[in-house]
Each structure stands twice: as structure tokens, then as C-alpha cells.
Symmetry: C2
Subunit: 391 residues, 2 copies
């Protein structure tokens, strides 16, 4: 008798199946390693493309500037180039094959930024390690649907619970973390590396254990555009309607906070609540600070400043601005923290914001860095902000 199922038989069979599937995936193409991260932090990209003409690679090491490196092809049809060395960091990149953007088929790691997918890698040995999964206790990430009465729909968000949350019976302060325009509730857990940053900072004793809530800041949408809704054609673009309604901030205060404080072991009271956001999320953070000053006591505004609305035809009185700030001042917040890069297209608006706060003698903290309106900055800013919270 040859037909059996036992543990020892399982052994050989698993290997066969694995090899079968792997070979099917590779389809007789030469095995290509890409990206290859060398010990000196140079990076080699490779693509097997014997029938393609021009292939270039461009990525976030160019800080948003489209500088493409041309790959050179060898006799086997493998295109290759080496760039760098690059500082330890997380990078996204795409190939351009005869004018068409494409990810790297040899690299399973893909990150989505809005409607655009890109391949990604991390150069280890420095800041990149903070964005990697290390040998420290890990928090968990939950995709949660919650009812939003103010927006009249169920909506999706992510909730990070810190290492030890499951085992303990204690309660934790909460950071509400807001994405930028074009983004959604996925952004802070993917490009933002929030779980890794918090795990690593908490593991090193540099940040207090906290819950982090990452919502969808587009009030007209229930969830990210990649969430395939029944009867909805996947080619539909995310609607802009509703984004400009100003209703997200209301739903954050009226729907999200009560839901979190009911369903998680969250500390309550403003001293246990922080709100921070990048770009549009920074504007929402400022908006919340002025409209509901008794809700949060810790604020983080990334890559956003005072914006000159006149060029958009919106004229406002200076009285309302000063009145808003006075209300916020009387709530006596623990931290009003602003961060921006000197190459950010909103840098001058941030300088204006700082000047206004100083002119008004409003207590604040300002972190000015190099760099622009990009995710490497927002990962850095979260890494700098989190240790300051709830102290």
C-alpha cells in the first residue's frame, strides 16, 4: 500500500507543493534579486525584460523630484542599475518600462499612496530600523467598523493597541492620527509605519504605551477606495464631495472618541487625548483645536501652517483668528507642537503660523527639519512627537 497520510508523509509533500507553486510563479524566467541592498547601503535594481527598450527607476530618495536612473541591459535581458549609497530609511520606487510605470515584480512589498501603488524597501542600520518589525513586544492593529451618526454611515478605521494591552487590565491614553489629502485610513499603518514606530519606541522605553486611532479623514467616504463595495464598479474614483464639508472634525469628536472610549480601555479626559495630522490632517488638527478646545490637550501639526485663503477668494477677519486662539489658550493645552521641512511647499505658511503664535505669546514647540512634503518627514515627525505625549 502506498497511499497514506501521516506526519512524515506530510513532510515531503509540503516541499513538493511549495516547489511546484514557486516554479509556476517564476515561469521559466531567470531568478532575479531586486532590490539588492548591499552592506555599503548602495542598492541594485534588476528587471528581466529582454523585449523592452528603455527602463528607468525612480523613487522617494529623490524627495519627490522625478530623477530617473536608466538601467543597462546585459546579454541575458536583465536590466540593472545601482544607486546610492542611501541613508537608512524606508523608500518607495517604481520602474518605468517604455514610458509606463510599473512595480518591481521581484519584490513582494508594495505600498499604496492614495491611488498609486509603489514597490518599497527599507535600508537598515539606522532610522530604517525604527520602521521595521524588531524583536520587541508588538502591539496589535485592528480594522474596525464604527457607526458615525454625524455622517450617517458606518466607517472604517484602524486602532493600534500597544504591547501588553491584551494581557493587562489597565487603561491607556489615545493618539488620534490624521492623514493627508488623497490618503485614507490605510496611510498611517502602511507608509506611516505607525505600528513599527510605536512598538519600537515603547519597547525602548522612549514613548508611553498608548492607543493610536487612525480614521478616514474624507467625510464623504466610508473607507479606502480599495475597499470593494457591493455594486460599486472598481474603476470609480474616490469622490471629492464631502471632503470640503468640514464635517470630519465633528465626526471625530462626536462619533469616534465616544466609540473608542466605550470599546477600548482608553483613559478619558482631555489630558489623555492627543490629536495629530499631516497636511490636510494638520489643518484638521488646528481646526479641532480651535473648535473643540476642551477635547484634546496634546496637538501635533505636521507640514501645515497658516494659509493665505485670499487667493482662493476666502476673506476672513483677524478677530476670529485671535478669538479662536484665546479660547484654545484658556483650555491650557499640554503641547502645541508644529513640525515642517524647509523644502515643504507650505513652509512659508508654517513660518507665518509660528510668527503668529509668537506674536500672541501662545506656548508652542516648533521642529524645523530639512526635507519637503513627503512621508519620510511624517515618519520622522511621528517618531519625534510620540515620545513627548502624555508626559
Amino acid at each position: 500500500m502506498r497511499k497514506t497520510i501521516t506526519i512524515s508523509a506530510v513532510t515531503a509533500f509540503m516541499l513538493i507543493i511549495a516547489l511546484f507553486q514557486l516554479s509556476a510563479q517564476q515561469q521559466q524566467r531567470p531568478r532575479v534579486v531586486s532590490p539588492e541592498i548591499h552592506d555599503d547601503n548602495t542598492i541594485t535594481f534588476r528587471l528581466y525584460a529582454p523585449h523592452a527598450g528603455s527602463i528607468t527607476v525612480s523613487g522617494s530618495w529623490d524627495r519627490g523630484v522625478e530623477v530617473s536612473d536608466e538601467l543597462t541591459v546585459n546579454s541575458e535581458g536583465i536590466h540593472e542599475t545601482t544607486i546610492g549609497p542611501l541613508p537608512s530609511e524606508m523608500y518607495t520606487y517604481t520602474f518605468t518600462i517604455d514610458g509606463v510605470r510599473a512595480f518591481d515584480p521581484s519584490n513582494p512589498a508594495v505600498a499604496r499612496d492614495g491611488v498609486r501603488n509603489q514597490s518599497m524597501f527599507i535600508v537598515p542600520g539606522g532610522r530604517g530600523d525604527l520602521y521595521s518589525t524588531a524583536n520587541v513586544p508588538h502591539g496589535n492593529i485592528e480594522k474596525v467598523w464604527y457607526p458615525s451618526s454625524s455622517l450617517g454611515t458606518n466607517r472604517r478605521m484602524y486602532v493600534y493597541t500597544p504591547p501588553g494591552y491584551m494581557e493587562s487590565t489597565g487603561s491607556y491614553p489615545v493618539l488620534y492620527l490624521l492623514h493627508g489629502a488623497g490618503g485614507d485610513e490605510d496611510a498611517w499603518t502602511t507608509l506611516g509605519r505607525t505600528p513599527q514606530i510605536l512598538d519600537n519606541l515603547i519597547g525602548a522605553g522612549r514613548a508611553k504605551p498608548m492607543i493610536v486611532v487612525m480614521t478616514n479623514g474624507n467625510p464623504g467616504r466610508a473607507a479606502a477606495p480599495t475597499v470593494q463595495m457591493t455594486g460599486r464598479k472598481s474603476s470609480e474614483q474616490p469622490g471629492m464631495a464631502g471632503m470640503a464639508s468640514g464635517e470630519f472634525e465633528k465626526s471625530l469628536v462626536k462619533d469616534v472618541i465616544p466609540f473608542i472610549e466605550k470599546n477600548y480601555r482608553a483613559d478619558t479626559g482631555k489630558e489623555s487625548r492627543a490629536v495629530a495630522g499631516l497636511s490636510m490632517g494638520g489643518l484638521q488638527t488646528m481646526s479641532v483645536s480651535f473648535t473643540w478646545p476642551e477635547t484634546f490637550s496634546w496637538y501635533g501639526i505636521m507640514s501645515m501652517g497658516l494659509v493665505d485663503m485670499a487667493r482662493f477668494g476666502v476673506e476672513e477677519s483677524s478677530e476670529s483668528r485671535t478669538r479662536n486662539l484665546d479660547r484654545l489658550r484658556s483650555s491650557n493645552p499640554d503641547l502645541y507642537w508644529i513640525a515642517c521641512g524647509t523644502e515643504d511647499f507650505l513652509y512659508n505658511d508654517v513660518v507665518e503660523l509660528i510668527a503668529f503664535l509668537e506674536e500672541q505669546n501662545f506656548p508652542h514647540t516648533y521642529l524645523e527639519t530639512g526635507g519637503g512634503h513627503t512621508w519620510d518627514r511624517w515618519r520622522l515627525y511621528l517618531s519625534e512627537l510620540a515620545p513627548l505625549l502624555f508626559r
Copy 2:
């Protein structure tokens, strides 16, 4: 004074930022809608590629057979083809641009199968609706790290908790759901559509509310290869070592079940535990049923049968097989359910399994369908199996 921040100013500014980012993403390329799902279930794919030669599209509608449709190019450089009509279902696809596989840059939805990323869409109006996010109460999905004593590492898994779990104080039965070779803990939540299928079946009253636990079945790995580990170069391939050790099943019983029953409101006892898996996961399911017959009472084996090990040099006695089945029989399981497609490369092995079970008068249920060793089958099988569990 023109510099202000008020809610009404926020309104206009958000719109500007959104338009800015959207235009930056599009980079002066013509707006292309792809895929466009027409009312008659034909699908139009489009790609802007004025400098490319040959572009084809291939996808899961070919059931694993590489049939490529050539796109034709118009004077604006937009390549286009229309296929179908296709039955309502979830589909993955890629373009091939001058010989290189690429995703569809107009489609933000990407699904990963092992080391390979593909674009995806759902044709609504039938079975595809079961795989979409509908207007029903939603369960939550948690990415959880748990300690595995038997494997000596922390590992990652997904836990689906059903609609109502957060609000209730009751406990729930648990389905442990296993992926195939080449897959990982992500597979059942992405290509498998487990959260959508369970939400929709539970919402329709067709399945009992249950917890679903989706582990990583490769004992040599802590998490999916896309989880960037500190100091690990992203170009490393998932190690095969350990996959063949047979230790996953042990860790499932010794580590995973106790963790779940401690940290979730899970019903305990074998009658409240189900285990099911596809391909390698089906083999693991059988292995568990023979080795720990007192652990589960509900079994689902998808696309896996009795395998002829002799061709791999493994000879086993028929006694051990019969002895295993007798042990399982004496545990009196509620359900031993097998499903396979007639075009599956393991179909003959499944036929042998059914013949063996019938010869031994072992109670079982067999679902034979069309189709092969593909995800459309496993989504279907989960949809058919879940309503049978815990009745």
C-alpha cells in the same frame, strides 16, 4: 487681515490640497479609466503607453491558463481591449508590457498572492457581491502577534471577530482557517475575502456568528515576507526551511488555540472548534484530524486528497492510515467536509481520498465542482463551508 483659520476657510483649502495632490499624481497624463466594468459584464482595460510596443492583459478569468489579450493602441497612445462578459466574481490580472508583468496603474486595488502582486476587481451582481463590502454589520479584523512556545518565536496572525462581538458579552465558536503553500497569514483576508464572506453570510442569517483565526502555516517564518524585519534585507526570499518540519500543526494546537481562548471570548471544547484549509492547509487539516482528533469537531479540506507519496520516495504502511482514521472516527466529529474542482491537478488524489473514506464507512461530505486549484474555488468553498459549521 487675510490670514485666518476657521472652519469655513478649511472648506476651500481642503479642496485645493486635494486637487493639488491629485494633479501631481496624474502628471499630465491623460485620464484613463481601467478597468471599466460595463453593465453587460464586459470589461475594458486601458493603459496609456505611447512608447510601448506590445501590451497584453491576462487574468484569473483564464483559470490559471496564460491566455493573453492583446491591447490595441489609438492615436493618443492609449492601449485598450474589452473582454468578457465575465460571471460575477473577483478577478486578478496583470498587464504585460513588452514582456514585463506590470499592474494596472489606473487601479489602486492590488492583491498579493505569495510573492506576486496583481491588480484586482470585482464584477458585481452575483457571487462577486458576496466578496464585496455590503451594507450589513461588519466584523473587525485584528493583526495579532502571539508567542509560540513550540516554535520559539513571536508570530503574526489575523483574527476576525463577527459583527456584534464588540457590543456583546457572549462567546463564539472559532474557525481556524489555513492557507496554501507559497501563501501566508495575509492570504485569507485578501484573496480569500474572509471578512466580506463572513459578514455577508452572517448578515443574511446563513452562517452562525463565529471567530475566524488565520495563521501563518510556514513554521519557519514569523510573518508574511512583506513584513520588513529589522536588519533583514527586503530582497530575501521566504525561507522554505521549516515548512517541511510538520511543526505547524503542533503550534496550532499547543500555542494558537490556548492564546485565542484566553484572549478572545471563544467557546471552548471540540464542538466549538473548526479547522479548514486549502491545498497545503488541507493537508495540515487532515494531519491535525489524525494526530489530535480530540481538538476539533468540524473539518474542511479544500483541494487536497490522498497523495501518492511513493513517487517522492516515501513508503508508508496501510496500517497507520487505517489506525489514524479509526482514532478520528472514535472522536465522532460533527463534519468531515471535502471540496475539490474536477480540473484541479490534485483531483485524482481527492477521488482516492473519497474512495478510501467510503471504503472505510467513514462519514464525510464531498462537494465536487468545476474549476481548478485557484482562489475562485477557495472563496466558493469557504462560502459553502461556513454555513455548515457549528449547527
